[in-house]
Symmetry: C2
């Protein structure tokens, strides 16, 4: 398999942290997005959605969604398990993965991509132009606050997002919290659990990936 | 386990179709959303997100995200498998589940919830008021067109969304296409593959669930 990667943005970082936690290295191709390589025919032939990361499997299938890439890597490299050890643990991990994606990741992306001139007509990733909606940036910023509130409650009395074990939910939440920083939203002072957890997961060597 | 259910909206329907395909019945509680039961304390104590469906596990955990509920049910009732038979099949199913969720479901929800007066201050599900953004309704309607275009390409030469086997991706895509109808967006005439597939999956007994 072959990973199409890019330093900087949050989505490919999820994959790199995950692989670092597994202690696995796979073939990686850096895509030069500043020179628009993701919009050119050669990359579009691999991934018509023009998004990064993408994972090309040995059978030629190209996965374009981080969620699918992470689940595939979990199957191929099961140790250590990062999706929980029992059906009930996996259920909580999956519940929070969706909450982190919709309430966290999408909120930050809305806030950033609908306000920063760098994302003019790029309010969503993908092949098509999507104009910015300033009101959506404001809504995104407010929803980031809500996400911090909810994460604070979830982390109360827990070492990690899904309980007492580090999982892929921590990876995705870490990436969202750092992504929020790019939208100038730091962890609020009234979220001590989030601060404690963020320090802890950021100190793992994988966080530098 | 116990399912909190509601006839009408798309998300609980996904769960009912899934259970019908498994040939499984579980304990179900109907939540009366018209009388605001989901906003009252008794339900909030179970699910603070106030969303339906929710699945209460035997250990007391309450899952609030359809994606997590479906994956848990797949583990508990593995036959027939609805997430693919091999890692590569599962990868395509997972890739499309995310595409259907973000490009399909969220687009229809944006179109509907940001325009219909019935959803005033309910532009997103959940415990908090979220004001409507009319421009987001317009963007949602355009993105539904894009979703149909992409689904048309995906279904070219394939019986089902993820290949030659019916999977949970068909369930989620069926529910999104019917949800689009609620936003007055029918399958466009230039999408014969989607029409053929939609007729096929709608004819399964599970589609009535």
């Amino acid at each position: 398999m072959k990973l199409y990667d890019l330093p900087g943005p949050p989505s490919p970082r999820r994959i790199r942290i995950f692989l670092a936690e597994k202690g696995v290295e796979i073939e990686t191709v850096a895509v030069n997005i500043r020179e628009g390589e993701h919009m050119q025919d050669a990359f579009a032939a691999k991934n018509n959605r023009r998004t990064i990361p993408a994972l090309e499997l040995d059978n030629g299938t190209v996965l374009t969604e981080s969620d699918a890439i992470l689940r595939y890597l979990e199957e191929k490299f099961p140790e250590p398990p990062l999706y929980g050890m029992t059906p009930e643990e996996r259920a909580v991990v999956n519940d929070w993965l969706h909450i982190i994606d919709v309430d966290g990741f999408c909120a930050v992306a809305d806030a950033l991509r609908n306000s920063n001139p760098r994302f003019e007509n790029r309010a969503l990733t993908g092949a098509r132009d999507i104009p910015q909606i300033p009101e959506l940036a404001e809504r995104g910023a407010k929803r980031i606050d809500y996400f911090f509130e909810d994460l604070e409650v979830q982390l109360d009395g827990k070492a990690y997002v899904a309980g007492d074990r580090y999982t892929v939910a921590d990876i995705c939440a870490l990436v969202v919290v750092d992504f929020a920083g790019m939208a100038k939203k730091d962890i609020p002072d009234n979220c001590p659990n989030v601060k404690r957890w963020h320090e802890d997961v950021s100190a793992r060597p994988s966080a530098k990936a």
